[in-house]
């Protein structure tokens, strides 16, 4: 068990100009479950492989448990890794696959068998111990890959999209199991995924990456409620946050009849920036359907284009009504509505942004403005 630290860690692949991971600073305390999330190609796997020693660190350093491992071979780092394609050894039985690391570490045969059996029991793999990986289902292979990691007692677990080859239902099940397992074992874990739902449900903290740059590290709730910039705001949450550019008029941000009073701090920051535009975002659940007669400053009419009914929830997708602005007509508004009384497609409804739930970002930098 150990703390993991990235300090300005950078990786530039030969032949490319832009770093795949750019001056990454990340402090992962002992026992934490940290999720690295971001769109495809943002450098998640590269970050993980740098920690594993499978990828060179071109600049900066990485330490595990106060020990600088930047230039150590993978075998000297005391880590266990689960690969996206599982990387099971096809020529070995499940038991040999799971006991492989212990055999390399010259753990006695009895001890090895005991630990493999224990892990197999934990993962419900006992009846498959003599099989070859070829004769297993996708879910079973995934569990063998997990088993190979947990028979060891490493300082850190590294998992690279371990669930991406499973079907949707199994993925939800396994994700809960992995999170529970990690909490029980208490070993520091770095988990890579491109699925923000996975990130939000599993991680103690979530680090969001984009184009090799760290955008924000925070608890899932903080990320959701206080995104540091427009990218995080749009990436985290499903359905995603409603974002649109507003004009600043006096103390208000204005768009098609919606007037949002900006905080004093926000206005000051805008003034420093010398900008008369802001990006305003609000979550689908931060809007409520109100009567047509209610014409407060934070209400606006929309025409419903799609209604998504999920049983426990319902979402409406609509377009701003009564507007001639072509950009706005393209902008889809998403709102959570009462699943027992959802509007119908084609309806015209009036929505109201819950005051205080709006988030304001700079148009120039995309950063969130102080409020």
């Amino acid at each position: 068990m150990a703390q993991v630290m990235y300090e300005e860690a950078t990786r530039v692949y030969p032949g490319s100009e832009r770093p795949a991971v750019d001056t990454l600073d990340l402090d992962i305390p002992d026992g934490e479950f940290l999720v690295l999330v971001g769109p495809s190609g943002c450098g998640k796997s590269t970050s993980l492989r740098m920690l594993a020693g499978l990828e060179r660190v071109d600049h900066g350093r990485i330490s595990i448990g106060q020990r600088d491992v930047t230039h150590l071979a993978p075998r000297d780092r005391d880590i266990a890794m689960v690969f996206q394609n599982y990387a099971l050894y096809p020529h070995m039985s499940v038991a040999d696959n799971m006991g492989f690391a212990l055999r390399v570490m010259k753990v006695s045969k009895d001890e090895r068998e005991r630990r493999v059996r224990e892990a197999a029991r934990l993962l419900d793999l006992e009846e498959f111990l003599d099989r070859k990986p070829k004769a297993l289902s996708g879910g079973q292979r995934q569990r063998v890959a997990m088993g190979r990691a947990i028979v060891r007692e490493p300082q850190v677990y590294l998992l690279d999209e371990p669930l991406s080859n499973l079907d949707a239902k199994l993925r939800v099940q396994t994700r809960a199991q992995i999170a529970a397992l990690q909490r029980r074992l208490g070993v520091t874990t770095v988990y890579v995924t491109h699925d923000q739902v996975e990130a939000m449900t599993m991680g103690d903290r979530v680090a969001v990456l984009k184009d090799g740059l760290l955008q924000q590290v925070a608890t899932p709730l903080q990320l959701y409620q206080h995104p540091a910039n427009v990218f995080v705001a749009g990436f985290i949450g499903s359905p995603s946050m409603n974002l649109a550019e507003y004009r600043v008029e006096g103390e208000d941000a204005v768009l098609a009849g919606v007037r949002i009073r900006l905080a004093h701090e926000t206005l000051k920051a805008l003034n420093d920036e010398g900008s008369d535009r802001v990006i305003v975002g609000f979550r689908p659940e931060a809007v409520a359907m109100v009567g047509e007669g209610d014409a407060g400053s934070m209400t606006f009419p929309v025409t419903v284009t799609v209604v998504e009914e999920l049983g426990s929830d319902a979402f409406l997708y609509g377009q701003y009504a009564d507007t001639t602005d072509p950009a706005l007509r393209e902008n889809t508004v998403i709102a959570r509505v009462d699943p027992n009384a959802p509007p119908a497609k084609g309806d015209r409804v009036r929505l109201r942004i819950t005051p205080g739930k709006e988030r304001v970002f700079s148009t120039a930098t995309g950063e969130r403005l102080p409020a």
């Binding site: 020693g53 499978l54 993978p74 690969f83 096809p90 690391a101 390399v104």
Partner: protein
């Protein structure tokens, strides 16, 4: 590779005309006899017959000369030169006995062949595996060109390299020695071995050895315990192909070898004398040359077949 295939529950057997019974007892009744089959089925049946005929011709083309050689080697001097070759004749082992008695005893020739071919093929596989692994895994610029250059050294005709090699070998005192022959075969087999093995290694997903590295292996341990076992068919294929080349070689042996290193093909050629050809002994030697390679091929054919298709090792 060796996992027994469990019978598929839906494997079927034909059960009288038009009826197919699945393993689970369920019966499917096909169209009654006499009803024309679909054109697709008929054409696939026709093409299957076509394939069979082609295979039969190829088989005869390959086997008839070998069979003729085998039969001739058991014929006496009169039978072997008979105007009308007989399939039935009184067999004699005299040709073989002659080969191992008297002045031209074949035993040293066999020994030289085994040594030169065996050692050179083993070396080619070992070195080829190491170099091929490096070639497959090291990221470098112009790797494709390097690989092509390596295999291109094999494309030169033997005649073109024999003379320079002879001069070099004479300088090094390697003429008429087994190490000389081994080295000569290696110059030809190694590029091929490297090239072939690197294709096999490239087929193994890198995450397998990365997983081994993380599990605590050194590079060498990962190579030995994970990569090599997965490329067994590649190793066997490479070994057999190198072995066959060295075993059958005449061009190098006739130039580089002397009394201390002459191989079987040289012995065979010496039976062609000015006074005539001893067909009985010649076919007996031919049989001795061909038989071990055929047996070796048969023994490893399970790996050879998957090897030549550069088999899947991912286990997925």
């Amino acid at each position: 590779m060796s996992t027994p295939t469990t019978p598929h529950p839906f494997t079927h057997r034909r059960d009288g005309p038009g009826r197919v019974v699945l393993k689970n007892g369920q019966a499917i009744t096909a169209a009654p006899p006499g009803v024309p089959q679909s054109p697709l089925e008929a054409s696939s049946r026709r093409s299957r017959w076509g394939v069979r005929v082609v295979l039969l011709v190829a088989l005869a083309w390959t086997l008839v000369p070998l069979l003729w050689m085998l039969l001739s080697s058991f014929k006496n001097r009169k039978d072997v030169t008979a105007a009308t070759p007989q399939v039935l004749f009184p067999p004699t082992g005299q040709n073989y006995r002659n080969l191992f008695t008297g002045s031209n005893n074949l035993t040293p020739y066999i020994w030289h062949s085994v040594l030169a071919a065996g050692i050179s093929a083993s070396l080619a596989v070992c070195l080829g595996a190491l170099a091929g692994y490096g070639l497959a895994r090291t990221p470098m610029r112009g790797k494709r060109h390097l690989a092509f250059w390596i295999i291109s050294t094999r494309m030169a005709p033997i005649a073109a390299v024999v003379v320079p090699l002879f001069l070099i070998f004479r300088g090094l005192g390697l003429i008429d020695s087994i190490p000389g022959l081994v080295l000569a075969y290696l110059t030809f087999n190694l590029p091929f071995a490297i090239w072939l093995m690197s294709a096999f290694f490239a087929d193994v997903p890198p995450s397998l050895e990365e997983s081994a590295l993380v599990a605590g292996c050194t590079r060498w341990q990962a190579f030995r315990t994970v990569i090599l076992p997965l490329t067994k068919s590649g190793l066997v294929t490479t070994f057999v192909l190198c072995l066959v080349f060295a075993w059958n070689d005449y061009a190098f042996a006739v130039v580089f070898s002397g009394p201390n290193s002459q191989t079987l093909p040289i012995a065979a050629s010496q039976l062609v004398t000015q006074t005539g050809i001893d067909w009985g002994q010649l076919t007996a030697i031919g049989t001795i040359v061909v038989l071990p390679m055929m047996l070796a091929g048969l023994a490893v054919r399970r790996w050879l077949v998957t090897g030549l298709t550069l088999g899947a090792v991912t286990g997925e």
